[in-house]
């Protein structure tokens, strides 16, 4: 088996070191890329990110990375994993900072937790929380029952109309915590901060 090469997209949002370290631990080759030309040449894309949805989209557009991702994923069948904000940016739009359109690779929307639906729990939702998988295959292969993953977020993707494998998490209200829809994957949690559960999922993603 040849050593896979993972392309982490650098658009100035968040802690990319941990994501790169996790893929390196698994034995993958990892490159950090900010040039849209290079993105279209890669075969495994990772879109990390911490911060606001609007800043994230503006940063992708300013670098011309948005078009390059859409082209690679829809026309060339390149697989992509969005992490945290990266997962949300793959969706249709977010209500953060008014309405902001996302990359639109899947139709789901992003909205803030309301204190009513989380029943007075603290926002942001921070810490290890357990997942419920639609099926234990593909991205979710071999993971323990109710496996825990590390979250830190105030906005979340709605579960409506999801066609594919997915996982939900409950924090007062159920929300979409991971998905695998064809070549498009996303995790609201940080697999690179989720011990062997996260490393397993990153391995599964590379092997899809």
């Amino acid at each position: 088996m040849s050593i896979p090469k993972v392309t982490v997209i650098d658009y100035g949002m968040g802690n990319i070191w941990s994501v790169m370290s996790a893929f390196k631990y698994l034995g993958a080759e990892v490159e950090l890329i900010a040039d849209p030309e290079e993105i279209s040449k890669s075969s495994i894309l990772v879109l990390p990110g911490v911060g606001s949805f609007k800043n994230g989209m503006e940063s992708l557009r300013a670098r011309g990375i948005d078009e390059a991702i859409i082209d690679a994923v829809t026309n060339k069948g390149v697989k992509i994993l969005g992490i945290c904000l990266g997962m949300q940016l793959l969706g249709s739009h977010s209500t953060e900072d008014d309405e902001t359109d996302g990359l639109g690779l899947l139709p789901n929307q992003v909205e803030r937790f309301t204190s009513k639906e989380v029943c007075g729990r603290k926002i942001p939702h921070v810490g290890f929380n357990s997942l419920h998988f639609s099926e234990k295959k593909g991205l979710f292969e071999g993971l323990p029952y109710l496996a825990d993953f590390y979250f830190t977020h105030s906005y979340r993707m709605l579960v409506d109309d999801i066609h594919g494998r997915y996982a939900t998490c409950k924090y007062g209200v159920e929300f979409l915590s991971a998905y695998e829809i064809g070549n498009i994957c996303g995790t609201q949690f940080h697999p690179e901060k989720s011990q062997t559960n996260g490393l397993m999922m990153l391995k599964n993603f590379v092997k899809l």
Partner: protein, 274 residues
């Protein structure tokens, strides 16, 4: 269900990792020792979070400390917080760009609350942990800053009230009396916390055995327990504690299979399947 946490705190002093007892430091080993002899990357698979504090008593070498954080972050797949001597936003930024997800502030809270606000504006409130060192004097709890060397005039209650009004994500409440003693946490310290305190509480100082973790975690006011003692849970001590706490405690801890770590390492090179 959101889980409670077990946190390991590494105390760093100018290139060495230290043991602390009542804030008196003793040199234990360098990064090489921590990785090779102490097998830290294996131990890190049994904790929920890592805190690395630069407690250097003399002049701090920030570049060297950042390199240590970066090196530790390479093989720890958990949230990492770093701090010690932060007085400016540039110092916080440097740690957050070296592999830390959060910064720990202590003296800064009383001295430069505006810097706390600036860090929160740039990196979010969840990225700041307020550490508070408390010592008992004449049966009263008192707040100490500057590596436990400066007594503050405010009471612990007043100090915590001030923290609750700043954009801070978590509280690290440390007992200087119990620090490094292994006699157990100072549970009475929790009585200083206002009832509607808005952020998670990490209890630190005094853990010597897993029953101490259990006493802390069982308290409804505690979200996480920490230990900074390099030898109280040496070898498979943390792994065994975690198993015991998960099976016997009346609280939830996160679950992952520790035994998978070595199968996942270099998986794409050495193994075909896990």
């Amino acid at each position: 269900m959101l889980k409670k946490r077990v946190i390991f705190t590494l105390l760093y002093d100018n290139g060495y990792f230290m043991l602390s007892r009542n804030f008196r430091l003793q040199k234990v080993g360098d990064l090489q020792w921590l990785k090779k002899n102490y097998n830290f990357s294996h131990i890190a698979f049994s904790i929920d979070e890592l805190i690395i504090l630069d407690v250097t008593r003399g002049k701090r070498d920030e570049d060297k400390f950042s390199q240590h954080i970066h090196s530790l972050a390479e093989e720890c797949f958990i949230p990492i917080a770093a701090g010690g001597g932060i007085r400016t936003i540039d110092q916080a930024r440097k740690l957050l760009h070296s592999g830390a997800d959060k910064v720990v502030v202590n003296t800064l809270i009383g001295k430069y609350p505006n810097i706390v606000k600036k860090i929160a504006a740039e990196f979010g409130q969840q990225s700041i942990i307020a550490s508070v060192d408390v010592k008992t004097i004449d049966n009263n709890f008192t707040v100490w800053t500057d590596n436990g060397s400066t007594l503050q005039k405010e009471s612990v209650v007043e100090w915590l009230d001030n923290i609750s009004r700043l954009p801070i994500g978590e509280l690290y409440l440390n007992s200087m009396d119990r620090d490094g003693t292994g006699h157990g946490y100072k549970i009475e310290l929790l009585e200083c916390i206002p009832s509607s305190f808005p952020i998670p509480v990490i209890l630190a100082g005094g853990a010597g055995k897993y029953k101490h973790f259990s006493e802390g975690l069982a308290d409804i006011r505690v979200d996480a327990v920490a230990t900074a003692h390099l030898f109280n849970f040496i070898g498979d001590g943390l792994e065994k504690s975690r198993t015991w706490l998960r099976n016997n405690g009346n609280y939830a801890l996160a679950y992952w299979d520790i035994n998978r770590a070595h199968l996942l390492k270099n998986n794409f090179i050495e193994h075909n399947e896990v």
